[in-house]
Amino acid sequence: MMLEKGLEERTFYLNLGPQHPSTHGVLRIVLEMDGEFIVTADPVIGYGHRAHEKMAELRTYQQYLPNMGRVDYLHALAYNQCYCMAVEKLAGITVPERAEFIRVITSELNRISSHLLWFGAYLLDLGAFTPFLYCFDDREQILDLLDRLTGSRLTYCFYRFGGVPVDIDDDFIAGCRAFSQRLRSRWDDYDNLVTKNVIFIHRTRDVGILPPEMALQYGVTGPTLRGSGIPYDIRKSEPFSVYPLFDFEIPIGERGDVMDRYLVRLQEMEQSLRIIEQALDKLPNGPIMAEKVPKRLKPPEGEVYTAVETARGEFGIYLVSKGDVKPYRVKLRVPCFSNLSVLPELIKDTMVADAVAILGSIDLVIPEIDR
């Protein structure tokens, strides 16, 4: 009798968020539930909208720079990089090589700190508390290094049009080398605590499988995409800065499940360490700022699209100039916007506990989606 009445009458709605520990920001997902199973999911976003794109049209090019540390605050330096690249391309500014090396070193450190935070927070979502203490201990080392160099611990605004404002010194280089040795010595701990943990494996293996075809239809990028076996990483696919000078690999997964996305991120940290070490070895001497960058920057009329690989995927800036001191239009193409839009497909027909495991595996930074 119940069945004849149809599915509609037996489902109910459940709010995941806006204040839910596993959303790491203010994200609401309206779940239509059939018992413990999710029938449909509808993400509701915009709680953290700060109108970054409108702000760009009201500020000069330089004044907009600090905004770039606040879109995705976990990998702020990649956003710095992308915006600087866009303006430099438009205005025809060439960045000295040493400055590009410093950008790569700091941006990769920032990537590791972002992945470490994800690692800790994700395992908290899954109910494991101890790994969080380990990785925050490691992450603290990066924050101290970058704090000393840039003056901030999170919302960095360190790059300038034409280079970087401060050179790195021997202490910073020694600090980076010590950190990279230290983090390498921790991989065994991480593996023993988490990767080989049978509870963790059961929560993540074959859960939330993202087929590559679906990823393409939604424009998914970053570790979420690479977990599905597509080696698309802007650092290799569309090389920028001095990345072509370094030898590193793009880790990919096979099944596209939560476990693969986890493994990809873990392996990426090791690759970032390799990049940092090579950059420190090859660090050239020379200036860190381009000469004669005008204080009053007025790039000629035109449009440009630049993209970088952030910890969460492809961040792109579509910048249109009409020859004014302010940009005419800045479109921020943020990775999590597309990565979250695929979520309803991934959590359909799963249970709430799995939905939390899948949601976390996409590594969302909500304010970045809202902009």
């Binding site: 976003i45 440009v304 699209y305 792109g316 579509y318 005419y328 479109k331 809202d370």
Partner: protein, 146 residues
């Protein structure tokens, strides 16, 4: 997918002079296309068939008219294609969300920020702004309070 193959395929839809190679070093794109609104579904279908993903979808308020701007890129080969769709005020663009489900949110964002209607969109309502917001903040004549 080399640029000339993309141009050939796209030119069959939009016409030969409307798809041209552009300087990648200066613009970050390899191919620039100018399309009419009604050509968008066919164009999107052609891009999907060539395994391009929708990188970005946005609009420009040019005061007298609009321009909807699509960026397509490929996971497999570097060939960014930008499609400009000039749009007089009040004209609608057919949705491509049936072809690229990822376009659904992009179109909703352009709708709320610029007031541009995507015809055939299954769920064209505010995405980021509050549900009852009836203003379009990214229009040039929208004054932001300081």
């Amino acid at each position: 997918m080399p640029a000339h193959t993309v141009i050939e395929t796209v030119a069959a839809i939009v016409g030969p002079e409307k798809a041209v190679p552009v300087d990648y070093a200066a613009t970050g794109c390899h191919v620039r296309v100018e399309a009419q609104p009604e050509q968008m579904p066919a164009l999107a279908q052609a891009m999907l068939a060539q395994k391009f993903f929708l990188e970005s979808l946005t609009a420009l308020d040019l005061m007298e008219s609009f321009e909807v701007v699509y960026h397509f890129a490929s996971y497999f080969e570097l060939c960014r294609t930008v499609v400009h769709v000039p749009l007089p005020v009040g004209v609608e663009v057919p949705t491509i969300s049936a072809i690229y489900p990822g376009a659904d949110w992009f179109e909703r964002e352009v709708f709320e920020m610029f007031g541009i209607i995507f015809s055939g969109h299954p769920n064209l309502k505010n995405l980021i702004l509050p549900d009852d917001a009836d203003f379009h903040p990214l229009l040039k004549d929208f004054v932001a309070s300081s």
